[in-house]
């Protein structure tokens, strides 16, 4: 398991600089750790609410035949911004520390 070091704000900065990668091996390990969850319940995704223009934050319900959990107050106009927002949510959940 990858230990997520809350002091490694340099990796956070590197991700925000280039959310789509390619990432350094060290940052890729961190990103993989934040992205990989065996149980998909509550996993963050985005829904393309306006094709090629708008993406809305959502969470997987973890069960079939069940409504997506939509966060209509978190709408993005670029996938880069969506990547940064989900990274932030996951980082904060993993470390307990708030990112600016």
């Amino acid at each position: 398991m990858t230990y997520i070091d809350p002091d490694r704000r340099d990796l956070v900065a590197a991700f925000n600089e280039n959310p789509h990668g390619p990432h350094s091996p060290e940052l890729q390990r961190l990103v993989n750790a934040l992205r990989f969850e065996l149980d998909t319940t509550g996993k963050y995704v985005v829904v393309n609410t306006k094709p090629h223009e708008e993406w809305t934050l959502a969470q997987l319900p973890g069960m079939r035949d069940t409504a997506m959990i939509m966060h209509h107050d978190h709408v993005f106009t670029s996938l880069e911004d969506a990547e940064r927002a989900i990274f932030k949510l996951r980082w904060e959940a993993a470390t307990g520390e708030t990112l600016e």
């Binding site: 992205r35 998909t40 963050y44």
Partner: protein, 738 residues
Amino acid sequence: MRKLFGYSDQISVRPGDTIRFMVSSLDDTPYRADIVRMICGDTNPKGPGFKETVIEASANGDYPGRMQPMHDGSYVTIPGNPLLDGISSFTLQAMIWPTTPRKGHQALLGKWCEKTKSGFSLCIDENGSTALCLGDGSGAVETLSAESPMIAREWYFVAASFDAETGKMHVYQEPLADSPGIGKATFAQSTSRIAASGPNGVPFIMAAQHKEPGSRAMDARYNGKIDSPRLANRVLSRAEMAMLVDGPMPEVLESDILGWWDFSRDIPTTRVQDLSANRLHGETVNLPTRAMRGFNWNGSEQSWCHAPDQYGAIHFHDDDLYDAGWQTDFELVVPDHMKSGVYCARLIGADDEERIPFFVRPPAGTQTSDVALLISTATFMAYANARTDINMPFAEVKEGGITVLSAEDVFLQENAGYGFSVYDKHSDGTGVCYSSRLRPIFNMRPKTGLWSFNADTHVTDWLESMGQSFDVVTDEDLHQEGVAAMAPYRVVITGAHPEYWSTPMWDAMVAYQHRGGRLMYLGGNGFYWRIAYHDQLPGVIEMRRAEGGMRYQSAEPGEYYQSFNGELGGLWRRLGAPPNTLVGSGTVATGFDSASYYRRTEESHDPRAKFIFDGVGDDELIGDFGSLLGGAAGVELDGANRKLGTPPHALIVARSEGHSQLYFLCPEETPYHHPVMSGAENPRVRADLLFYETANGGGVFTTGSISWCASLGHNGYDNNVARITSNVLKRFLAPEPL
């Protein structure tokens, strides 16, 4: 929210043929239908632009909308018979392998109507135990449970009997495995105050029960296997039940046996045979999986053809689906003026729009071009309604980016009843083996992601941009007609991802090449998996995810042989026919975060390859652009390998490089996992651009990359990917032998 969608009864038609469209408008809203010729379905701003043309057709017009329901879940139905209506005392028994015993009430065998609470049913109760339910139709119900929850994926003998004279009810539940953790044999008995009703208007059903007489709606849908179901017309002793489990039918009990169903008979069909004197034959509905290991499978044989008596199980799923069975809303008699190509029935209404694709071939016996575009309909069906991005925990790390869902993905997440792809797992976690096109397929559409159908509209747009005429041939045509479907054409062009091939399709391609045909394989991960079409049932394929290959699910041991035709399923490479023998290269790696470019090799300067690079500089990077991940070498990559059958004279004229650390060798490329697997480190992670001559003046051109076609349209088709592809087409169209 998707509200308007449909499907057609056929996918490949000719002028004069009739194609029917079935539509569901969830809010019953009217809609407008128009037939359109689809040129490019890609709405990506970085792509060539969406293009379609309305075709004058009798089907164009306004239609009233209506909601049409889905009825998923597989079962066996035994048509009504006085013997079944006249049952009073009885014994029901079977061997079962439940996969979700705790999901709630599930019917196994019975003649039960839920609406009137009438009949009898051997079932699994809410607690996961075997139970017997009786109902007299007045609302009174008697239930007797074994009171011992079963464990998933274990075999059990289950039985129940009822004596109409005494009211005695008996239930048996006995695990086959003698293991302390699995539980003990359980027996329960009680006396019923009521009798099961006689005729109740519903047939005898296995693995589900009717909600009401005459309705297609079922409930109590079972997940798991049933083997050796039996029905007797009196209460049998436990010793007598044992005589019915296996082996030949005992003569002493023949007159007592109403039904002795043997699922190992007629495996490729929907037929279920009753070997008793009553011949109460039945039919499967919604294609439960056949050729499944039975309770008596001992591993001595892997093929159901060699030991059918060990494959007497059918695996039922509550989400199996074959034919949605909707009513026709409109039809089109294909007019003579519709030239061969890709078409859609475009529906607009209900704040939604839908395009149902179909393909028009030229009139029989004619061709309108020397070029045939082979439409990968088998692959489109394999991916039909895939939910892998939602259900697979590794989807995001595989993609190397957050999961982006479309309106179609959201609809399918919230509406499980539209059937799955052969990439998905059923609700019980077992792999999907069958995929049908007789249902709405939300990802086989224009304006969706660049995969499958929509990605291949880059090829139609490229051909149209050059004014190049072409006819279309679908995988189904190739399967049904063999090489005759392609033989008239000097050049056959594939789409970006011709991944799934039946044996007749494969043989046809071999024959086409032997006859001097010229093949342009413009994709990657092609010729990869074997499938089977069904001989009698239209529009359905079977896929067994046997060992090897990139899989989101895998078949169980002993279940690698296709039920439709008895062939071993899996990778063509593993079957001894690697794609390298057909197109010079085979899949080596996948990656979904980025794409790269090719660099010319020394072999590109061979005089034999000169025509390929006309107008392309020696040092040009080839395809360092494109609307799919930004490069022509990406997503799934194929490479040459002499040991796998790449022809020795094949020229590797360009090779991709610079793939990312999120590209990985595919499993069959590496017999052992080690740290040097990714594109950043392993030199075998690359795509090879290949050319070679074949018999009788033919030739093969292979790009080895799924993203190649998405680079064709860059800069208004003025780029080296389009130039190379056009150079090859021009030379391949010339009559001189290659």
